[in-house]
Symmetry: C2
Subunit: 138 residues, 2 copies
DNA sequence: TCTAGTTGTAAGCATGATTATTACAACAAG
DNA sequence: CTTGTTGTAATAATCATGCTTACAACTAGA
């Protein structure tokens, strides 16, 4: 099991917007050319990034721009904007409550898995768009 | 996106085997009763745990038993036994190599996401079956 | 006002993963 | 030989993902 490619796609889009700011009009078609995906995928992704307050979109005329500085956009913001991320883990639905293991499995596991979730979030929070831009150049 | 329920199912199975050792014959049907899933799911899961060297299965006669002590079985062993876990993340397939962002996106992201993967693995390695058994009682 | 390019979304489709279920050959113990 | 079990294949239902077509609504400029 893996995450969808939505977060990488969103990051790619944001990096393009930052990189081509002022040089090109970053329309969905233009961006789709760099991504190698359908323009509608770009529009849907941009729509979620807009809802998360990360970008502004010029309706009608076309083009998108960042609403925050690249150093103030974390990968977690991007991730949670495009991915319906509740928990990384899922349980089987109907453990038997009459069995001591079935009764406790959810709570017992959750105690540990929650911290995996938390660490995952913290790590993504510590990666900002600017550091990705920096590595792009090198 | 989430992981499948395979790891929680496998953990549940292993906990039952440890808990009911000597008291009940842990057949796939018996285990399925505690899990609330189909016995075939249990057999397929046990088959993967066996391939990973974690359990022994009595063919024909029925029943499974642990091959390692609960304190020596980590959640990572269980996870990687049942989940085809390469990387947590996936990329879009065809970024444009003529675009500086498209050319670099994979490598630039991978540099950071790899450490998320590593941390994920380390955390699961630090959780053992015995500690889950302990919390079960309380 | 008209035109051209764009966004926002809905709808449909193909594919693959997940889970449940049926079925049955192979096996072991009594 | 019978009974209960494992191992595994096959099927089906459901859902997520990603691609694509289509089209109304919008904006700027001629």
């Amino acid at each position: 099991m893996q995450f969808s490619s939505r977060m990488p796609i969103a990051v790619h889009i944001l990096l393009c917007i930052a990189e081509f700011d002022g040089k090109y009009k970053t329309t969905s078609t233009f961006l789709a050319g760099s991504l190698g995906v359908n323009p509608v995928i770009v529009r849907n992704t941009l729509s979620k990034l807009k809802a998360a307050g990360l970008v502004r979109i010029e309706s009608g005329v076309g083009g998108a721009s960042l609403l925050k500085k690249p150093e103030d956009i974390s990968l977690w913001e991007v991730f949670s904007a495009v991915e319906d991320a509740h928990s990384l883990f899922r349980y089987h639905d109907n453990p038997n409550p009459q069995c001591p293991v079935g009764r406790g499995i959810h709570k017992v596991l959750d105690k540990h898995l929650q911290s995996v979730n938390d660490t995952f979030k913290e790590q993504l929070q510590n990666i900002c768009l600017q550091s990705l831009l920096d590595s792009l150049g090198s």
